[in-house]
């Protein structure tokens, strides 16, 4: 037996246990630092502090200067979160939010993430970047037990918005993802976004919408069960997950997380880049009263954007982007246009837009009055 901490192998009550030190080297696992040997020492470094969604850390839309190493640090936090008035989930989170925070770099930059799993957590986690190449998106190189931390660096080679999520193996993968462990990165072209004709386009705001499907078990009386920790709910939630029928489909981790006081804000004439990420399940964003002017439906900026969409499709396990210039003031609903999911299960956000009404675009010619009165 190996005894804990500072116990030396070979002296734990054994008659004789010579250690074969040479065997350790002869049969070593890969030396990744030497194999990779990527010399980024000449590159400037910049560090961004992450901010919780729907907001995104400050960033340049057009890169000034050459590639950089862009550093981020995330803590994985397991904690109970409220999903609805009557429903809670033992969430697993990147940096404490559902979805995890967005990281923005430019094509050709290196994204360098320090991923920390505090000892207060119960479970092993990792991160699979859909934007990264190799080693299961980095998942194979970032497994961290509670009390461990790791650093992964990958080169941002493909411009677009991409999902990241936890993927610790087997049934742990869907369980961690539907417990909240997903987020998105945005890799901007160095010279910024382009419209369908190749002309530069800029956005005034980013609205980062992470959509999550939750599978929260109920007790015999129909009440959602609240568990003391993630593990206690595991088998019940597994059964619920296997029905493929979510109890909640929400933006930003909870019903109403982006409505009311927390509604998104814009003014007439502003261009908002809506980034929609769904790590597990298909979705179909729709801006009620508005459109997608330029839509990168699959989220990858090397493809010219489509125009004038009413509804666009987000494949489960991907992120998409849609740019819209608000032309009228008022309240807009940004929904998953499966309206059962939008209205009954929670997938609705609101955008409150200030500005002057344009009667040319729409006018109420006659307010509703008694039938047959004119």
């Amino acid at each position: 037996m190996i005894s804990r901490r500072a116990a030396l192998l070979g002296v734990a009550g054994m008659a004789a246990a010579p250690l074969l030190a040479k065997a350790a080297k002869a049969e070593s696992a890969p030396d990744m630092s030497m194999a990779a040997a990527a010399d980024v020492s000449h590159l400037p470094r910049i560090r961004h502090e992450l901010v919780a969604p729907p907001f995104v850390h400050a960033h340049e839309q057009v890169a000034t200067g050459g590639p950089r190493v862009v550093e981020f640090t995330m803590d994985i936090i397991e904690k109970e979160m409220q999903v609805a008035d009557d429903a809670w989930v033992q969430a697993m989170t990147f940096n404490g939010s559902v979805p995890g925070p967005m990281m923005v770099v430019h094509e050709g930059d290196y994204l360098e993430l320090t991923l920390r799993n505090p000892h207060t957590n119960m479970l092993e986690h990792n991160i699979d970047f859909h934007a990264a190449t190799g080693a299961l998106g980095g998942g194979a190189l970032t497994k961290v037990m509670p009390g461990e931390q790791t650093i992964l660096r990958f080169k941002a080679t493909r411009p677009g918005v991409f999902v990241y999520h936890c993927a610790p193996g087997g049934a742990m993968i869907p369980w961690h993802v539907v417990s909240g462990m997903s987020g998105a990165v945005m890799i901007l072209p160095r010279d910024g976004l382009k419209d369908h004709q190749g002309n530069p386009v800029r956005y005034d705001r980013v609205a980062y919408i992470g959509e999550n499907d939750f599978y929260i078990p109920r007790d015999d009386s129909g009440r959602y069960i609240r568990y003391p920790d993630a593990v206690s709910g595991y088998s019940d939630m597994m059964d619920k997950m296997n029905t493929l029928t979510p109890t909640h489909v929400v933006f930003n981790g909870a019903v109403g997380a982006l409505t009311g006081d927390r509604a998104l804000k814009a003014t007439v004439g502003e261009k908002v880049l809506f980034i929609h990420a769904q790590a597990n399940r298909d979705s179909r964003p729709h801006l009620i009263g508005g459109h997608g002017d330029l839509v990168w439906e699959a989220g990858k900026f090397n493809n010219p954007p489509a125009r004038d969409f009413e509804t666009w499709f987000i494949r489960g396990g991907s992120a998409g982007a849609a740019l819209y210039e608000f032309l009228q003031p008022g309240v807009y609903a940004y929904v998953n246009h499966n309206l059962i999911e939008a209205v009954n299960l929670g997938a609705t956000a609101h955008v409150v837009v200030e500005g002057d009404w344009n009667n040319d675009l729409m006018e109420q010619v006659m307010a509703p009055t008694a039938y047959g009165s004119f």
């Binding site: 037996m1 190996i2 008659a15 030190a21 040479k22 350790a24 070593s28 890969p30 194999a35």
Partner: protein
């Protein structure tokens, strides 16, 4: 987890019968399980865990051990009939495993279920029964232990891709595409120490916690982190499985093939 239909099972057994496998008699009485006693002696041990040497991941060395005490361990897996006795006594959790065929190995058990069984059996027999450590399992498994150190390779030129593909290849070695039904006791034969059914399609819980540590230049190994929420299961390869997991698909085999079934056998303390 339910066993497959009798028809399928019969077909599978017909197959192994033609392969010349010996089907041994399953243990009849839960409180008198057949055991084998390994004499004191020398054996090889490949520690589990994630090890770093000078900050770089390495396989732990193969360590020659000389143990001065014998080891008494069950010759067979704990059967469903045996587990049912514990269940009926109210001492073991109901795992939803189909217990109607008492002679089959008990599977679909978590580490916690296995611990409950060990406690009950200890009470019922007045002896101390417990799960083996990963090291004890290797000692008992002898030639049936599948070494899972990352093999060979040049330290200077090795790369993560090769490491992953080698690990994967080792993980799927000798695994066919199907999970076959659980076989009766004895179906997978006996090893040189007299233990039956090692490294078949039933993986076995051990008491060894998930660990990480460092290997110094002089070969000294120090465990720096230990997580007992996750235990080593042993079989055709080793996997790290959360203690409450009963279905091996939930195990920690990453992109590899997870254990087919989770079962256990116990050690009797002398």
């Amino acid at each position: 987890m339910k066993i497959l239909s009798t028809l399928l099972l019969t077909a599978a057994l017909g197959g192994v019968g033609m392969g010349g496998w010996q089907i041994a008699q399953p243990p009849a009485d839960a409180t008198a399980p057949p055991t084998v006693t390994l004499p004191a002696g020398v054996y090889n041990w490949r520690p589990s865990g994630d090890w770093l040497s000078n900050g770089r991941p390495v396989s732990p060395p193969l360590i020659r051990r000389a143990y001065d005490a014998p080891l008494e361990i069950m010759a067979y897996h704990v059967t469903r009939g045996a587990y049912a006795e514990c269940l009926n006594a109210g001492a073991c959790p109901d795992t939803d495993t189909d217990l109607s065929r008492a002679e089959l190995p008990m599977v679909g058990v978590s580490f916690l279920d296995a611990e409950a069984y060990a406690a009950w059996l200890s009470d019922a027999t007045g002896a101390t029964w417990r799960l083996p450590s990963d090291e004890e399992w290797q000692r008992a498994a002898a030639e049936r232990f599948v070494d899972d150190a990352v093999l060979g390779g040049d330290w200077e030129t090795y790369d993560p891709g090769k490491w992953l593909t080698d690990s994967y290849a080792r993980n799927i070695e000798n695994r066919d595409g199907w999970v076959h039904p659980v076989q009766p006791a004895g179906a997978y034969g006996v090893n040189s120490r007299g233990l039956h059914d090692l490294a078949g399609n039933v993986w076995e819980w051990t008491s060894t916690c998930q660990t990480a540590g460092e290997i110094a230049d002089d070969g000294t190994m120090e465990v720096t982190r230990e997580r007992c929420f996750v235990r080593v299961v042993a079989g055709q390869h080793r996997a790290m499985v959360l203690e409450f997991v009963r279905d091996a698909k939930s195990g920690g085999c990453g992109a590899g093939v997870p254990p087919d079934y989770l079962g256990f056998r116990l050690v009797r303390e002398s």
